[in-house]
Each structure stands twice: as C-alpha cells, then as structure tokens.
C-alpha cells in the first residue's frame, strides 16, 4: 500500500510541481539535442570545411543584419551558434556522466564496505576522505590536471584531455558518495533484517549488495543528481579557466571562455547564449535533485 502510494505520491507531486515539470522538460530538450547533435546541427564545429569566415559574427535572427540560416547567429569563425552549443553540451554531458559513474562506483563501493566492516578499514577510508575534503573539488581537479601535464608526454596530452578531465572530476566527487553510503550503511547495520542475513551465514558481498544497497539507494540517488550538476559545473569551470578542453573540441565552458573576448564589444550572443544554456541545464538538474530530496525526505517539505 505504502510503496504504491509513495510511487503514486511521487508522480502526484511531480504533476503538481510546475518547477519540476519545466526543469524536466528543459533538461530533456538539452539532453536530446546533445545526443542527436550530429543529426540536428547545421554544421559540424569540428570540421573546418563546414563553416566559413564569411559568415562570421552574424547576430541572432531577431537582430538586424542576421542570416535566417543561423537562428542564434554565428561566432567569429563563422560557426553556427546552435551547432556549437549542441556539440558543446554533448561534450559537457559525456564528461559529467562518466565522471559521475566512476565516482559513484568507487564511492558507493568503498562507503558500503566501510560501513559494513567498520573498524580499521572504515578508519582508513574515512581518513582518505578527510584528506580529500581538505582539498576541495576544483583544487583536486586542477591538481590532477597539473600532474597529468607534468607526467604525460606533450604528444598524447591533447588526446587524453577528456580522460584526464573526467578522472579529475570523478576523484573530487567520490567522497560525497562514500560518506553518504557509509552513513546510511551504519544506520542499516543496526536494523534487524541485516542481523538476520548475517546470522544465516550469508556472504558479506551478498548482505551488502542484495540487502543493504537497495535500502540506501534513496539518498544516493539525490547525491547523484546533485553531483551531476556539480560535475557539469566543474567541467565548465575548468574549461573556463583554460585548463579543460582545448578550443577545437569546445564544451559549454570553453564556449563561454571564448565568448569572454566579446564581453566588451557588441557581439553579446557569443558569450551569453552558451552561458544561458549551461545555467539552464544545471538549474534544471538541481531543481530535479531538490524534488527528489523532497520525495525521500518528506519532512523538509
């Protein structure tokens, strides 16, 4: 009864929350555009032959001097803004999601084990987490990036940028998962269904993943949403700082950095349109995360 109501109630709340609906719609549109970028986009921003300098700096259609072919105008290279943004969003999402997957896998695994075994193993994991916490996300990511620059030979650095960036972001996010999973596991460890499973003589891995994990998924799901937003922001920030992705495979952050050159001139769209898309994406994900948090913790409603 309760399970059904809860599901039903989640749906009910969703239907009655305009913010959540709009957020979901915006996120869907951006994700859809990113996934099918190669089909939708007018030009391929990676292909130098597909655009021309003669089309450079065209404003969006509602401004004078626009070319109706480029709805949101073009940048100084003559790239269609919409195409750049779709491809940029794709890069941002790919990095964000893969970083999230790595962080979740590592964090949840370590957190569950730390909560289950307790004792020395727990202390070691948590001390590592402490050190990680003393080095905030951006710092960790920058550091890993710096190390990669020092270690990897110049020739392969460009090719590995995406991997390094993903790893750097993942390394700064796993602590969230580990701490949440550990705290929830501690709570579950005092519940009798876990005692029952241990008493029967079930293997620790089975107790952890079959019995405990489904019960701690709720808070982890919230962390996952919030951290996806963080990962995308982190990627954008690193690219903005100029140590993320190079300009020839731009993410949303890189687009904004390029747009900064036009802050003082009249070509506002080159800076602000990618900015709006980035903010819209992150706001939507955060609204959905907030909504999930409300469902799992109804007392804060």
């Amino acid at each position: 009864m309760m399970a059904f109501l809860k599901k039903y109630e989640g749906l009910w709340l969703f239907v009655h929350s305009p913010a959540a609906i709009i957020a979901a719609a915006v996120a869907m549109v951006i994700i859809f555009g990113a996934v099918f970028a190669s089909g939708i986009a007018l030009v391929d921003p990676y292909d130098l032959a597909s655009f021309s300098l003669f089309d450079g700096l065209l404003p969006p259609v509602w401004q004078e001097g626009a070319n109706p072919k480029y709805l949101l105008g073009t940048d100084d290279q003559g790239r269609d803004m919409i195409s750049s943004i779709l491809y940029g969003a794709r890069v941002s999402l790919i990095i964000g999601l893969s970083a999230l997957a790595i962080a979740a896998f590592l964090g949840v695994g370590l957190g569950l084990a730390a909560g289950y075994y307790g004792g020395r193993f727990d202390i070691i994991v948590m001390r590592i987490a402490d050190v990680q916490l003393a080095l905030p996300a951006i710092l960790t990511a920058l550091l890993i990036d710096g190390i990669a620059r020092g270690l990897l030979p110049q020739s392969i650095q460009q090719d590995l940028r995406v991997a390094v960036l993903t790893l750097a972001i993942a390394m700064s996010l796993w602590v969230n998962f580990a701490r949440t999973a550990r705290a929830s596991t501690f709570v579950e460890m005092n519940k009798e269904y876990v005692h029952a499973a241990i008493m029967m003589g079930q293997r620790p891995s089975r107790v952890m993943f079959v019995h405990i994990l489904p019960n701690v998924l709720g808070p982890l799901l919230v962390i996952m949403t919030v951290d996806l937003a963080s990962a995308i922001l982190l990627e954008a920030t690193l690219s903005f700082l100029g140590i993320g992705l190079p300009a020839d495979s731009p993410s949303l952050g890189t687009l904004i950095r390029i747009g900064m050159q036009f802050l003082l001139s009249g070509e506002w769209w080159i800076l602000w349109i990618p900015t709006i898309v980035l903010v819209a994406l992150v706001v939507s994900i955060n609204i959905l995360g907030d909504f999930l948090r409300d469902i799992f913790n109804p007392r804060l409603r």
């Binding site: 905030p136 920058l142 710096g146 937003a229 903005f240 700082l241």
Partner: protein, 331 residues
C-alpha cells in the same frame, strides 16, 4: 574534553603529513626537478652534480623527512618559472586571498544565516518560496558566470566599480591591505560578492534544513507546551541547537572559499594565491603547486581546529562526559 581536542590535533597532523607527502611526491615524481632547473646546455656531469647537491640521490624516506623539515622551517624552495623563493611568492599573495575570502565568508554568513532562519520559520510564505527558488538558481550558476555578470552590469554597463585588480592598497608591515582605502573596498566588492554568493546559498539552505529539523524536536514542542515565549524558543533554544551542525559546515566551506577563490581571482585578475596557483599549473611550476597545497591544507586544518573548539564551547555534551552515556548495547 582534552582527549577530544588532542585527538583532533593528532588527526590534523595526519592530514598535514598526508598533504606534505602529496606535495613531496609531486615535486619528486612529476617531471624531473633537475631538467626543470637547468637549461639544455647544461652538461650531464653538471646535472649529476646538481642532483647530488639537491640530495635527489638520497634514500626516499630521507628525502621526504628533509623536505618536511624544510617546510616546517619555512624553506619552500625555488620556483621553476620565476627562480624566486616560493616562500616570498606565497607570502606576497596571501593577504589578497585572505582578505577576499574573509570578506566573502562574512557576507555569506551575514546574509545566509538570517535568511535560513527566516525561511525555516515561515516555511510556507511566498517570500520563502521566492528565496528558495532564487538560491536554487544561485547554486546552479557557476561562480565565473556570476563574476562575468557582475563585471558586465557594474563595470561595463554602469561603470560604477573597477573590474580587475586590487585598487588602492596600504602596506602594514609586510601585509598589503585593500581594507583601508575606499578605492580598495571598491575593488574588493565585486570579487567578494562573486565568491560569497555560492557559500551564501549553501549556508542558507543548510541553516534552513537544520532549523526545521530542530523545530520539530520534542524539546521545542515541550517548550511550546509550557508556554516558553516564542521569541526565546526560536532564537535561544532552536537557533543554538541549529548552530552545532552549521559550524561544521562553515569550517568545510572555508575549503570551498579557497577553491572558488581560484576562479574568482582568475575572472577579476585578483593578484592572490589562486591566480598564482593557476599560473603555476599552466607552466607546470611544481614547487609552487606543492607549496600552495600545503599552505591551503594548513589553513583548512587550522580552521577546522577552531571549529572543534567552538563545538566544545557550544555543546556541553562534549565538555563533560558521563560514564553512563553512550554505552553500546549493539554489536
């Protein structure tokens, strides 16, 4: 209580040692220090001699101990890029970042805590919903975008405030401060707001969540039931209990302030530690990167020790421990 503090100090030393080790590994293994220090024309023999002089052929543990020892003495080595002592470079930059961070933190607390209390106590008001929505957008806008927006509005469009640098500064001993001139404050305002906004939204949301949790507790309901004045219930009973967890987060937020100061300093060309760190990453200036790490970790550990002391001051349960308390009946 003494044990609690001692334990924290030991933990802090552990964290510092780990970070020092990280910095040392950076220095030792990321790139070859000798190649970095010498030019192409240096002969192999000279390189070998330098290697010996630097002690790079000594046993690993010995090198680490010496590295740590030098760090403790304040000898941080030389920058690959500028060939200056890292200690001086860092010392020059600390005031700018510290002033920026502290002002930002103050802004975030001065606005965040009252806003959190207000939205917790009037949880259904229109005002609350508006504030909550605004803060949600607030956490979602990357710091650099906030900076750009502020520069665009107040610097470019309105032309009220400078958009880069520290403005007029005053020397107090070795400390270069922008807090004593109007010009300095004008320059500080936009970066400090940029840096403070994100922390502000976090503080507000946290205070709100904790306060709502406390307001539902039995002792607040009991206070209601015996007619304790609402004002006292809100601001004496509830707020004090809310502060316990909030203080921890403020300690952690300091880390956030430092991290985001890198971004803010980059946007506003603010000559602080963050900008130095960014430059050193671009040029793979390992000694500066390592020392920056150690300095940041040191501040972090220091702040969290202060937080622990505050904890003890607020929560009597940590001050006096009853033997009857917390005996486990569980496995």
């Amino acid at each position: 209580m003494v044990y609690f503090i001692l334990k924290r100090i030991v933990q802090s030393v552990f964290v510092m040692a780990a970070v020092a080790f990280l910095a040392f590994s950076l220095f030792r293994f990321v790139g070859d220090p000798v190649t970095q220090m010498t030019g192409v024309e240096t002969s192999v023999e000279d390189q070998e001699r330098l290697r010996d002089e630097l002690g790079l052929n000594d046993p690993f543990v010995y090198q680490f101990v010496r590295f740590t020892h030098e760090m403790v003495l304040g000898d941080f080595g030389f920058s690959y890029r500028t060939r200056q002592p890292v200690a001086n470079m860092i010392a020059d930059r600390i005031p700018a970042t510290l002033e920026l961070g502290v002002v930002a933190l103050i802004i975030s607390l001065m606005v965040g805590v009252p806003a959190g209390v207000y939205t917790a106590l009037n949880s259904r008001g229109v005002m609350t919903q508006t504030i909550l929505m605004t803060t949600l957008v607030g956490v979602s806008i990357p710091t650099f975008v906030i900076g750009i927006m502020l520069i665009f509005i107040f610097g470019v469009q309105l032309g009220w405030l400078p958009t880069f640098g520290r403005g007029g500064t005053v020397h107090i001993g070795n400390w270069q401060s922008s807090l004593f001139t109007i010009d300095g404050w004008r320059a500080l305002l936009l970066p400090a707001i940029t840096l403070g906004v994100y922390q502000l939204t976090l503080t507000m949301r946290l205070v709100r969540a904790e306060m709502m949790e406390v307001m539902r507790s039995d002792y607040i309901r009991f206070g209601m039931a015996r007619g304790v004045p609402m004002r006292s219930l809100y601001y004496k009973h509830a707020l004090k209990n809310t502060l316990v967890p909030v203080i921890t987060i403020v300690g952690l937020q300091f880390g956030g302030v430092i991290a985001f100061s890198i971004v803010t300093e980059s946007v506003f060309q603010w000559p602080g530690l963050g900008l130095l760190f960014l430059e050193s990453i671009r040029f793979v200036d390992i000694p500066v990167m390592g020392v920056y790490l150690v300095v940041i970790a040191f501040f972090f550990v220091l702040v969290n020790l202060v937080v622990d002391l505050l904890y003890v001051a607020i929560d009597p349960r940590l001050r006096i421990r009853d033997v009857h308390d917390g005996l486990p009946e569980k496995i």
